[in-house]
Symmetry: C2
Subunit: 370 residues, 2 copies
């Protein structure tokens, strides 16, 4: 993936709940990189989700949408919360996120489920089942039942209503996300497992056929298997280490990636990237966000885990800016700090040292200084 | 649920793979009940799935469909296998099962995920996370994306195709399955968690609203919560014991019930029931089947675990025939045999005694004799 050049333009969207406080820690890493490594960033911040609803009545304004299009990379923390639960469909915080994904055409959502050695005991699964786990879930993000038409709720009279959504995928939509999965697999364990319900859904059958065709024509060197989505939900619990890359649709990807994330026992650690198609220069639009949500119950208390957010920024450094050395520096600092026994509340364990959001970031920055 | 009277009519559909050999053990329990308890059964056996395709070219004949309608209860083992993978959609083994569900109007699929004390170590999850687990998943089974129209694969020209499925639910479809969940909860932990993606799907929003309405009007004494399907996939891994009854749609239910089943570590142990609406006499059509599949890789070798199939028959005894004493006898015999350390290969552990399908059934029958 071709990289942006300096100044690297970044749009920060802190969103709701714990979003602002974890995003604040990213700012500090940006400042560190500017000061210590002489890198030039052009950083803007804007509202999304509930915060935008409160200020502007919509979960994403056109002005922010335009900024997102213009940026080299977008960093989003999290959206949503009970405060906005009563709103109609298109007015909810989530609609802001869905609009960003759709209008930036971020069709490939990369969600790693990785177990850090220091945190293997945080999992509810037995250590031998998850130690060393490293799965990459590639989820289609701009199609399927999330966006298909017709959709809505109709009134049928007699007190009856009908809710409708449409699952729809085309050849091109399937092939482009499959290619991302195969490319990633080549740089990892060289295995792709494609997941659908081709035994009951024609859209799943098309999925299976198109992934098979791309494989045969372009990636015969990668090992491809197919698994039904229900079997995959099972196998993730039974033997997660059998997987390398999993490629699946928007809805199955939503569930399977959350399930896989929870296998690690520490979703406060997991970043994600959503990528668009390459432009004429090979540059892709990209949005980076933690896998965790806005956690309104602990918001504003400086206790949230900032690591998933920091590692999301690490993914941006690597994939959008080509700053591999700096990405590694950040990732290594996170590892080292975990190895010292420092923990935020969500990953706290007996014998470890509990720290706040900001102290976790302090410590990581000090580690980067070394 | 009102019970059938003697002779109890049963249609056995062994299906494919390990189906025939586990169903054979049910026959033995039926014979035992006839001989030792003087109960009269009228048992018929017929083909479904791949076995029916091979014999008749279709996965379910009209004649078998008629027998299923006429029976007090249908017992199905499993359908499918690689042999029939190349077939078109409507001709596959699974289509036979889907036709049974749809034409018998079996809208409520009850899938317990229970951890047997003797098998707590079979789980990949830590014993403290799953010990005593007892979840009942109520899955809507005749609606949603499994049956919604329009559906199919269209050719768009230029090498492009489009696959379409439709997720659709009506007020009545949601309310009737919600009622089953609330009724069941009253006899258990009195808690229902309703699961959908109401934040991105209108059909899910309708689901949430209708479940809420039924709760308010008819079951205010039951504790109701709502959870998004992705969060539920996570929470099943993080803390499964928080759940009592989960009610969800056909597709989410497919995945979540398989995930929940695998938490127990022994899906060879789990039965399920699919129930229709009560007729004028309060009698419901019902189909009972194990949660596991046809396991073609181990078929015909007398090594499959027959317990899920036997416990499915146990559910039939209880719910279709009102034979609670006999159901308890069978269930208790299974427990006792497990406590002695007898194991089929799928649940084998160090220090236990490995046995075949038929020896497991022998031992359970001997235990019932006591
Ligand atoms: C917030 C919600 C719309 C979103 C989704 O369903 O895609 C979230 O669950 C995710 O996985 O990013
Ligand atoms: C065999 C298949 C059609 C079926 C389903 O998807 O419903 C199975 O997975 C199940 O859960 O009973």
């Amino acid at each position: 993936m071709a990289s942006a050049s300096q100044p690297y333009s970044l749009l920060l969207l802190p969103g709701d709940g714990i979003g602002p406080e974890v995003m604040r820690q990213v700012r500090r890493v940006i400042d560190w990189l500017a000061k210590k490594r002489g890198l030039e960033f052009k950083v803007e911040e804007a509202l999304v989700g509930g915060a935008s609803i409160d200020a502007h009545g919509v979960p994403l304004t056109d002005a922010v949408m335009a900024k997102a299009h213009a940026a080299d990379a977008v960093l989003l923390a999290a959206v949503g919360g009970p405060k906005w639960d009563g709103l109609t469909f298109e007015k909810r915080p989530e609609a802001g996120l869905l609009r960003l994904r759709k209008e930036m055409d971020l069709f490939a959502n990369l969600r790693p489920a990785v177990v850090f050695d220091a945190l293997v005991d945080a999992s509810t699964l037995k250590p031998e089942v998850v130690r060393g786990l490293d799965i990459m879930i590639v989820r289609e993000l701009t199609g399927g039942v999330y966006f298909g038409e017709p959709r809505g709720i109709e009134d049928l009279g007699n007190g009856q209503r009908r809710g409708i959504n449409t699952q729809v995928y085309t050849t091109d939509e399937i092939r482009r996300v499959a290619r991302i999965a195969f490319e990633l697999a080549r740089g990892r364990g060289n295995k792709v497992c494609s997941t659908e319900k081709s035994n009951v859904m024609e859209s799943g059958l098309l999925w299976r056929q198109e992934v098979t065709a791309v494989h045969k024509a372009e990636y015969p060197d990668v090992e491809l298997s197919h698994m039904l989505a229900d079997a995959c939900a099972m196998q993730l619990v039974r033997n997660p280490k059998q997987f390398d890359v999993i490629v699946t649709d928007n809805l199955f990807g939503d569930m399977l990636s959350d399930e896989a994330a929870m296998l690690t026992g520490s979703i406060g650690m997991l970043p994600s990237a959503s990528l668009g198609a390459p432009d004429a220069n090979g540059k892709r639009k990209a949005l980076y966000e933690p896998v965790h949500g806005s956690a309104p119950d602990i918001a504003g208390r400086d206790i949230a885990n900032p690591i998933a957010m920091l590692l999301s920024f690490g993914m941006a450094l690597r994939w959008s800016f080509g700053l591999h050395e700096e990405a590694t520096l950040l990732e290594q600092a996170v590892q080292n700090v975990l190895n010292t026994g420092m923990r935020t509340g969500d990953i706290m364990q007996p014998g470890m040292a509990k720290c706040s959001t900001s102290v976790m970031a302090d410590t990581i920055l000090r580690e980067m200084d070394k």
